[in-house]
Symmetry: C2
Subunit: 153 residues, 2 copies
């Protein structure tokens, strides 16, 4: 289960990915259109900016925009910024894996060995999805819903 925070981030980024590049979007607009608490969204966007996914400009005419083309922003990157490095167990962290208190030996822990498979599966999946995929799938689903045959799938 991803946190609500991460979900909000993906919604906001999806909206930006689907909007014309070059036009900064306002926090307040994003919050209203995606129904995200505004102050909460602020903190999320700051995290994304510090992580290199967003650019911002302060002052009149300012706002947020993607720092890279949507196809170059993987979901893995976004999720990592908000949830931290993905690891089903603390002992499976890439950087400084920590053995659980109750474990004698990380290297022979069966739980860790099987959960490593889960980590790999999730990582591969998230590395291969981008904001472009997110936006495109949404667009295609909406087109399909309107009864149109969508030839660009």
């Amino acid at each position: 289960m991803i946190s609500r925070k991460t979900k909000y981030a993906l919604q906001a980024l999806g909206r930006m990915a689907a909007s014309p590049a070059g036009e900064p979007m306002l926090i307040a607009d994003l919050a209203a259109r995606e129904r995200i608490p505004r102050k909460y969204l602020e903190t999320i966007l700051v995290t994304l900016r510090k992580g290199g996914v967003l650019q911002s400009r302060v002052g009149r005419g300012g706002g947020y925009q993607l720092a890279l083309p949507p196809a170059e922003i993987t979901l893995a990157r976004v999720v990592r910024l908000l949830e931290g490095e993905f690891a089903p167990l603390p002992c499976l962290a890439d950087s400084e894996p920590v053995c659980c208190d109750e474990c004698d030996d990380l290297a022979t822990c069966g739980t860790r060995l099987v959960m490593a498979d889960v980590k790999r599966a999730v990582t591969v999946t998230l590395e291969n999805l981008t904001l472009a995929d997110l936006a495109e799938r949404s667009r295609a689903a909406a087109a399909r819903q309107r009864g149109l045959v969508d030839f660009s799938i």
Copy 2:
């Protein structure tokens, strides 16, 4: 990240899978050997019993044992019992998917469409792993660590 509860469950089940079948194990022993708070483990084992993964007998000579051969107990089943059905988002639940408050339409939500891939990846992985895998990997790792070449990999 799996909860500590689920981790405890896997540790205890792994221990049982690696022990000779037919001999019930005591909560107190499992708790001591895996360093799990005893009362907490009790509640976990009850959940597993109600879920059909464990059998128990009360009274002297009683205890817990697996209700099925380790190879027939998938991690998916265990994780589902403890964490609930796996779904990265509430709208991706198999039974009664619930659209997020802030979403207009579940069917065209891009976030949901990409997270469906993650759900699939995790589900497939967990369905294909069993307690036998967990126990065997631990055994093999321990053998390897002792400097033995392990031919049974």
